[in-house]
């Protein structure tokens, strides 16, 4: 008899509803109040998303204080890359002892964002920046390089035409 009454009165369902109701009311009275802890959702495209300092975004060729590319074409990153996403053609430049890359090709389609290239670099010439909005309309835009038809790899500029974050 007691069990029969239990099936009639759904106590455990009511407990669950009470929990969700409590949450609902808490959020209703605190939503849009700015820094409320219960307001969990980021307003992402309107407010730029924050990433952690170690975040691995797309590859970027760094420059020194004089605005020159640091890379000396030692090919360490090419060897470290698991997916062969990097190709370097070494070249020369007047007034510089070391080599400079004539072209530094980076195929982002193949990149797995592991960061092994950055670890292998002993000159701190490359970095994975904080850019993560990497969608493009044309496949060719995925190939990054130096000058010419390529999107520049030495600038932190966004690859996508419309980007909200990554302006540093």
């Amino acid at each position: 008899m007691k069990n029969f009454l239990k099936t009639l009165i759904p106590v455990e369902l009511a407990k669950g509803l009470l929990l969700t109701g409590k949450r609902f009311i808490q959020v209703m009275f605190s939503a849009n109040r700015g820094k409320s802890k219960l307001h969990l959702v980021d307003e992402y495209p309107e407010v730029p998303a924050k990433v952690q300092p170690r975040f691995r975004g797309r590859l970027q060729l760094l420059k020194d204080d004089q605005g020159e590319i640091i890379c000396v074409c030692c090919n360490a990153c090419v060897k470290a890359c698991p997916t062969n996403a990097i190709q370097i053609v070494p070249g020369k430049k007047e007034g510089r002892k070391t080599r400079v890359p004539a072209s530094y090709g980076f195929e982002m389609e193949r990149c797995v964002f592991c960061g092994f290239c950055v670890e292998s670099c002993t000159f701190n010439a490359i970095a994975l920046n904080h850019q993560f909005e990497l969608a493009v309309y044309n496949r060719e835009d995925m190939a990054l390089g130096l000058g010419g038809v390529f999107q520049s790899i030495d600038k932190p500029s966004p690859v996508a035409k419309f980007s909200y974050s990554g302006e540093e």
Binding site: T7, P10, E12, L13, K15, G16, L19, T20, L40, V51, Q52, P53, R54, F55, R56, A80, P82, T83, V112, F113, C114, G115, F116, E119, L128
Partner: protein
């Protein structure tokens, strides 16, 4: 006038409840499953063969993509296998941090499992609550490893970097969120009559069958066998940790749910111990820059959230890459039991079966 006929239908590979690209051929008599044939291989990428052509340190990138819900466990298993092959000793601080990351990853994986399993059965609220708490754990991964899903967290000989700034607080926040979250999931599910109707006695697999099929992890523990590699063959810093191995005798879907929830509590316990007893020191052992192997072979099993993940490596003399690389994926062995578990059950219970197995097709197809 009326005649009955068995009907064969396909479930998947693009069905949302099949957790990826699993395809099940079902022969039905009305709503009863008479025969089930799982078809796998839709996500095959040849990871084992690729890794045989890559240097030892590069192989880690593909272990991320085996079971993408628990990348760090795969990274850890792979790293320990390679270290065993080369005889490298990892510093104690790195061991502790690895253990901590691995347990955070277990929380992450079990939260995804609970979320998707409950949603398959029809409880959407749990899905949202689980993902709310999982977000905090993913933030920790992002702060520590630089990536949320494909972490590439380990290095041969230790870890790349020490803890980031404010790591303690992040972990404590996440643990608090999980601990309060667990109470909420239990309030929503444990006594819920709909949940009980859909899980109690569904997809039974007794201990003998588990042993016969090579099933490991929470599936095995829910059948009453207290086998956990963290206890049986301690690796990383698990030998110094205090934790229990939860078991249940019922061997059904509800028992697996209880076992996994208890495992999450134990994970929280282990992480707290790691935080308290975190030793000082380096996080990276001194290893040669280029690893050249001798002739040898090694098999190293570790306890991933889904079960025993083992990495088998064969090396040749002077080789820069493994001669043979094999992954013993827990999901593959667990998925073998699907036909047995769904025999003579209803179609709706097939969904519950797939959910309770906690399969990720990335590691089954490899």
């Amino acid at each position: 006038m009326f005649k009955s006929q068995e009907m064969e239908i396909n479930m998947g590979p693009q069905h949302p409840s099949t957790h990826g690209v699993l395809r099940l051929k079902l022969r039905l008599d009305g709503e009863t499953v008479k025969y089930c044939y799982p078809v796998i291989g839709y996500l095959h990428r040849g990871i084992e063969k690729i890794c045989e052509n890559k240097a030892f340190f590069q192989g880690q990138v593909w272990t991320d993509r085996l079971d993408y819900c628990s990348a760090i466990s795969n990274n850890l298993g792979w790293a320990e296998a390679v270290e065993k092959l080369f005889g490298i000793t990892v510093p104690r601080r790195a061991q502790y941090l690895r253990t901590m990351l691995n347990e955070l990853n277990r929380l992450n994986s079990h939260l995804v499992w609970l979320a998707t399993h409950a949603m398959d059965i029809g409880a959407l609220t749990v899905f949202l609550y689980c993902f709310r708490d999982r977000e905090k754990i993913l933030d920790i991964f992002e702060a520590f490893c630089g990536s949320r899903l494909t972490t590439t967290a380990m290095r041969i000989g230790g870890l790349l970097e020490d803890v980031p700034e404010g790591f303690d607080k992040m972990v404590k926040d996440a643990l608090h969120a999980v601990r309060t979250g667990l109470v909420e999931y239990e309030t929503l599910l444990s006594e819920n009559r709909i949940w009980l109707k859909r899980t109690v006695g569904v997809a039974k697999l007794n201990a003998d069958d588990c042993m016969a099929y090579g099933i490991t992890g929470p599936m095995l523990r829910a059948a009453g066998i207290a086998y956990d590699i963290r206890k049986a063959h301690p690796y990383a810093a698990y030998g110094e940790m205090q934790f229990d191995v939860p078991t249940r005798p019922e061997a059904d879907t509800y028992a697996r749910y209880l076992v996994r929830l208890e495992e999450m509590r134990q994970s929280v316990r282990i992480i707290e111990q790691c935080l308290e007893g975190l030793p000082e020191g380096p996080v990276m052992a001194k290893i040669p820059k280029v690893l050249k192997s001798e002739v040898g072979e090694v098999y190293h099993p570790t306890e991933a959230p889904k079960g025993e993940i083992g990495f088998y490596l064969v090396s040749e003399k002077g080789g820069a890459n493994p001669y043979r690389f094999h992954v013993r994926a827990p999901g593959f062995f667990n998925a073998q039991a699907i036909p047995l578990m769904v025999q003579d059950s209803l179609v709706a219970d097939v969904i519950a079966t797939i959910g309770t197995l906690d399969i990720v097709l990335g590691e089954i197809d490899r």
